[in-house]
Symmetry: D4
Subunit: 166 residues, 8 copies
């Protein structure tokens, strides 16, 4: 039980910038995480090995990140009963419609909690993982409330600036 509670698995290291805001959110909430590059298609055995032992290793939520056919989140979900958060990476096809459908349209029995294929998806994956941890961890729940307050303050500052300028 030495793993961080949140495990990110990316199909490609080129997806790292997309999830950086999610990693940042976890750091802001003081939640540990690990990041792995593993491919559902090119290193399926590695995915299976890491995911199969994830719960016993101490992982509590897995964020799986992929684009296009984007099988990784479903393949991960097939190997664990931990909650799997799917992050569709924006692609060339309608801005990621393929990524989104390939992750969201899972058959009944194996769910993946899917984020948007927009810019906010990477950040939201981190925050959703935190929300899951917050179900049983009061400190995280309170940190999320504080985080939201800060977001609201940010909106209000912009509102004040616009009202002053328009």
């Amino acid at each position: 039980m030495t793993a961080s509670p949140v495990l990110w698995i990316l199909g490609s290291d080129s997806d790292l910038p997309h999830i950086e805001p999610g990693l940042e959110a976890l750091r802001a909430l003081d939640i540990g995480y690990d990041v792995r590059i593993m491919s559902a298609h090119r290193t399926p055995d590695d995915v299976e090995a890491v995911v199969s032992s994830a719960r016993s290793d101490g992982v509590k939520v897995i964020c799986a990140v992929a684009g296009g056919a984007a099988h990784l989140p479903g393949v991960v979900a097939a190997r664990t009963t931990l909650p799997v958060v799917g992050v569709p990476v924006p692609s060339n096809l309608s801005g990621g419609l393929d990524s989104l459908l390939s992750i969201a349209q899972m058959p009944g029995g194996i769910p993946v909690g899917t984020m948007g294929s927009n810019k906010g998806g990477g950040k939201n994956a981190g925050l959703f993982a935190a929300a899951i941890l917050g179900v049983s961890d009061t400190r995280v729940a309170e940190a999320l409330s504080t985080y939201r307050e800060k977001m609201a303050e940010g909106v209000r500052k912009k509102d004040a600036a616009v009202r002053a300028s328009v």
Copy 2:
């Protein structure tokens, strides 16, 4: 703290059949739930009141179900830091593409874990709620493992039947 751990909020009672497989899954896993009909647009105060106090009432996961513009899951997520599972109901527009996009494409900051707009989405919402509970509840985690084993057995039986007949 008297509420069931899983709270379903539906925008319309016509969506009940879509989530019945999810309720059935929760019953099979011996997890309690409540079902409410509340509209993000027609009864927004009711949504706010129920959701704002959900965590203190003992709710741990909220499954929000809606079709078309499908604002309910996002509106619910705006009022709680509990994990919100969004269930897009199939619609007339491309089989629910509007429902899916309206729920999944949340802005950075307020995540919704989105299910598919397919037939399996309602069932998967129940199972995903269970997976979230299973993070800190060993009994649920084990029940999910058993549930998966049964699903695998079901596939294997069909495989045997087909191999015998083809």
Copy 3:
């Protein structure tokens, strides 16, 4: 009753350039407006407070501007019986198809008058607000007629220029 007749609510200040042509149209028509930055998800109480009192404050039309899941126009419409004009901001997904569907596909009972997710949408929101005011305000109706005449003249000038050059 001190508010301007047209109230713009934007989910993000990054959407300001998109609606600037609409603000310009209102200035050309000598119609007052206010601009607020408020988020359906991050500052829902602020939205509710401002919108609930809008009619009594003297607001006559609300233009709500958002992208992606774009719940803001629907959330605004749920809190007022004033006409709400929804402005879908172009996004990465098919150029704003998500924004458009999330705003247009409202359930029966709570309408939002939706503009296009194209470049002209921001301008048209201002003009549509003016058309609504023009129903009972003869000065505005006449200003709109003049505005249209100028547009027609602009087209005719371009026609003449092209005919001269081709």
Copy 4:
């Protein structure tokens, strides 16, 4: 000035069932309306004649209803500065995506307030017309508030029924 305040123009009489809920809403709100069948493509002169004189005839809002290429709302809007509500009729192509795009994606300068291409679109056109009238007509504004209260009550009754049965 003998016309009803709301004028419905339909491209085809086969679209009547789609807008019947909107007519019903107007009757419930005690607002008069007329219904015309006129085609932007087959009887363009009739459309022009009726629309050009609409304001002076006493019309205050025009609801234009069409499917597929659905040019009628835009063609109507080109001939009046009255607010035009566009109602995309569901079609065979993705459930009316063609109708929706053809109505919503107007160029800057000539706005159409577009409803959804879903079942609720016809009803919402009537309610949006009422909201526009309510800007300057206190009786209508109050009738709309009452109408909303009844809708809320309807949702609450269904909620109670579901809570009693589940």
Copy 5:
């Protein structure tokens, strides 16, 4: 009867570059053309006047060019029984899917011969107009055959170049 046989009507002079290859094709085929900037929504009377008299003026084919809601080709077709070629200009929404659907999905009775919303659409409008003229004009038919031969030679030269280099 002094008009050129091919009349181009563009909703905006910003669409000129899109059709330049079509004008070039007509010049190559020695076919005369005129270009007008007229808007279905901003100068509908001008469109009507020019189109209604087009046949008697000697026009034989009209190429109507527009993007987004793109009503111009249909509005033109409503005013003449000459063949109307519709040219959807690429837009922000899926690269012009809105333009294409708004032009192609005409109701039964008023046809528009629609080109693609791709780069080749402007060129093909010119060539299709030529093909229509070629039905009764042997010189044009022969010029088209020669034009095709040159295109084939162009492909064969590229083939030879690639085979030599790969």
Copy 6:
């Protein structure tokens, strides 16, 4: 020169009902036609033979009808400089979006005048063929004007009926 002026080529005899309204329109306009079943993929030599000699056989317009990948109109257009009208048959994919795109998105050089993938497409193919013939055939042009007048009368009758009943 014994062929009818309009040649219909269908990829499958199951598409006959879709074009029956177009055949009916040609009969109403007293224009001759032939109908062939030939497949771009299963009988490509037959397509080539018939199309290559079409002009010299007296054909003036070819209407090519296909669904799904729908290569037939483009394959026909590659073998003749006669105007080719493409008719996308409604399919299971978004109501014929595949058929429409496969026919409309031709590369620059080989145009196909594409009809809608809606119910009206088959009828419009016949009317568009007539419009092409009407460029040089005064009788057809006049028959088309009469046909349009009858359509307008049909709309006006429905208008009168609705006005009497609502």
Copy 7:
């Protein structure tokens, strides 16, 4: 080496009717096949075991059939270097657009030869498997040629029937 040369793997036995025409085609070509029901998500170990040993068991082509997220073909392709034919089953979302994209949009490195999500996809999978076998098996190549001749004859018979009746 006792397996049939073509191995079909279906995610669900409900997909059997979709591929029956493909099985029929293989029988007509006298090519042996096996059919298995195995799920990428519910029985991933079974998929892995069967696919990993497929080549050594004598399998030459695998046809993998799935709908929605449709990960099965990609998951199969990840476990073998045999050619994998992907068969997207029509679904509720745009007639199978999700199935098609989830199978076709594979990342560089692991190809899947994808069929259409239309009715013909199941039949074509069988014929494509045959074409692959025909590369090195003259008997199969000749059987395919005969099969095509019969298809062409079928088209010609329909052509003759239509020409006789129209």
Copy 8:
């Protein structure tokens, strides 16, 4: 029998960069190939001549590459019973949705093994051609296994680098 086993046919030499990774893969696997530029629409006779004799010339797999209406793969498949791999080139319309649908949605009887319209599609066409050859050529099958091992090593190196840096 002097041709290379893999024949690439491109509709345009501008598509060469898209397939360069596929050519590179074939070189890495020591498999010969030829590249031709031939158009289904502009040089149909050339396509027919080359494809009809391909099998007797020693070709074993044809990769056909096209964008937009993208008829080339289907036109090629109509002229041979060799396996045809279709490569949809990314386009302006939703990133190549038109190309993908035009290639994938073939009618029952004439299959095309379709790659993705994404960046990986060109590479995968080469690898899929290799997989087909590997059915009967042990050297190629072994080279493919080695190739995959190298890809897996590449992923593992990136994984190690990310784990070291995050």
